[in-house]
Amino acid sequence: MSVDDRALPAKPPVIAPGHTSATVSDKIGEIVFRKTPRWWYFAFAGSFALVMLLLMALTKLVVEGTGIWGLNNPVGWGFAIINFVWWIGIGHAGTLISAILLLLRQEWRTSINRFAEAMTLFAVACAGLYPLIHVGRPWLAYWLLPYPNTMGMWPQFRSPLIWDVFAVSTYATVSLLFWFVGLIPDLATLRDRATSGFSQRIYGVLAMGWRGSAAHWHNYETAYLLLAGLATPLVVSVHTVVSFDFAVGQVPGWHATIFPPYFVAGAIFAGFAMVLTLAIPLRAIFNLHDFITIRHIQNMCKVMLATGLIVAYGYLIEIFMAWYSGHWYEQFMILNRITGPYRYHWWALILCNILVVQLLWIRKVRTTPVVAWIVAMFVNVGMWLERFVIVVTSLHRDFLPSSWGMYSGTFWDWATFIGSIGLFLALLFLFLRFLPMISIFEMRTILPKEEAES
């Protein structure tokens, strides 16, 4: 065995050499306890201003109703569902990294799983906002849940929209638990390192009495593995159910069996793009080159390339099926996407999601963080455009030409969308400030053995 190992070219390390348990704890823990850097205030203020924009848009929505959005007949689904699918897709990378890569013992996940999970939570929070507000009367959104109500009615269990309620709420719950359970040993580390009584108490409550005894670790490992097992099917199931929102409907452009796998691949694609979008600047700002190495960036680029190819295959199959079905509505739908009034959206989507991503075949692109970041930004835009194309171009040409229409987002649509990006960033900045963005104790476990003991 060892002979074979030596025969392989040595993989670059997942943590830079020279680190010990103490330096890892110092380096990551110190970020939380050092004086708040000046840039943080500016960044947080900027994103908080966007949160205020979101609140303004939501207030306007509650006062006036969904008429402030660009929705119309025939385009009855607009920004709300586009943004919902976009955000929920972004979340998937976190779950994949934390659950599937854990079970597959990919130890390189260790330095990115914590903030990828945080990203998942915040993305799910942003995603969850849209179904609640799009119902028009958000104060009655609890009607989505099946409970013994005085109306004598259950939600329509045959509708994928109610499956969505379960898929997303399960996802949010499991993601939150997974993230929190993973944080407990680190919260204890922070509690022990905190100097002020106030932060000792806050971290102490959150650490739930963690003392790091063998029994604690035993329970912890069991719980974490169980949660990983629970989260694993969610990577596939949540976006499958989201794709059913479309695929179960009989609208050309939606009613396709390719949708579930193509949506799941798209979600992981979008998610890794977002992880890269966040990881590359964080690594530079917090000087974490030792922990988030070029190997991490390379690996994430490779996952993006692979899932991007699956997505490209999905687009091809859509076009193929339109031809193969011999169905004129399907064929019109595809031709209309490529050459119709929304053709620029479609071509931009192809550029962002297929063409630009092919750059990742080049090693130099994968190993140059700035370039990889630009590719990831293209994918972020491309995946939003994909949902726009799926939702809007499928609806705007209804079966009857007399019902044709056009759709565009209003100021309030954009304000809600940009505001939700602000919410995501604001939560992220709070997370960076108050919690360890990299799992301290897990980083200690991947230290080379002799250094950990020194």
């Binding site: 409970y147 109500n149 005085t150 109306m151 004598g152 009615m153 022990d192 009584g197 108490r201 739930m208």
Partner: protein, 214 residues
């Protein structure tokens, strides 16, 4: 290192964690109970009326039919509240000096209506037609209760949607022969009678949204 928390924190946090579950479950249960209470529905609550009119006395004791006053019950979307003139048909002859009825006479003289408080008031987003229910064999008693035993009228049922749907889903449990519409305390003669009547009256009670929310 000094302890951050007092040792009682252990007990406190355990109690809080498990107690929290019961608190949440209990809170939800309480909300569900409250949404069905008479506080929310008005069921069984007597409204303050301008004159303490007794349905008990006028129907059970005197034997006046429901439709003598609520003349729209069989043919109109609303059963209707009688005009003062209906009261005066009798009360210009009997109890015509009673101080209790001074307001009735005043209303009759001036043409100003008596401001009765509406007892059975459905929300405005519900389309309801009184006549169809009566003509398909839903007796007064089924919705309004034992009016013959109410000295002061009150809402006998919750009037909540689940209550409407109970009957719309299983009309055979409520229908009666048209001859027994005004009967109080009526009981079906045999268990199959309901199903027979549903066929006989051609009852197609609907439960689609737009049946009631038009």
């Amino acid at each position: 290192m000094a302890q951050i928390f007092h040792r009682s924190t252990n007990t406190f946090s355990r109690v809080w964690m498990f107690g929290g579950l019961f608190l949440v479950a209990g809170g939800i249960g309480l909300l569900l109970l409250m949404s069905r209470s008479s506080y929310a529905t008005g069921e069984g609550i007597v409204l303050q009326q301008p004159i303490p009119f007794s349905h008990d006395h006028h129907t059970a004791a005197l034997g006046i039919s429901c439709v003598y006053c609520h003349w729209g019950a069989e043919e109109s979307a609303f059963a209707g509240v009688p005009p003062t003139a209906t009261c005066m048909n009798c009360h210009n002859l009997i109890w015509n000096q009673s101080p209790m009825l001074a307001q009735v006479r005043e209303s009759y003289r001036t043409g100003q209506r008596i401001e009765w408080q509406r007892v059975h008031d459905l929300p405005d987003y519900v389309y309801f037609n009184h006549a169809i229910h009566v003509s398909k064999g839903v007796g007064c008693e089924s919705c309004h209760g034992r009016v013959d035993k109410m000295p002061l009228i009150m809402q006998a049922e919750s009037l909540q949607m689940e209550w409407c749907l109970d009957c719309h889903r299983n009309p055979e449990e409520q229908v009666r022969p048209l001859s027994a519409i005004y009967a109080m305390g009526w009981k079906p003669t045999d268990p199959e009678q309901g199903a027979r009547l549903v066929a006989e009256h051609e009852i197609n009670s609907k439960v689609t949204c737009s049946t009631c929310h038009r």
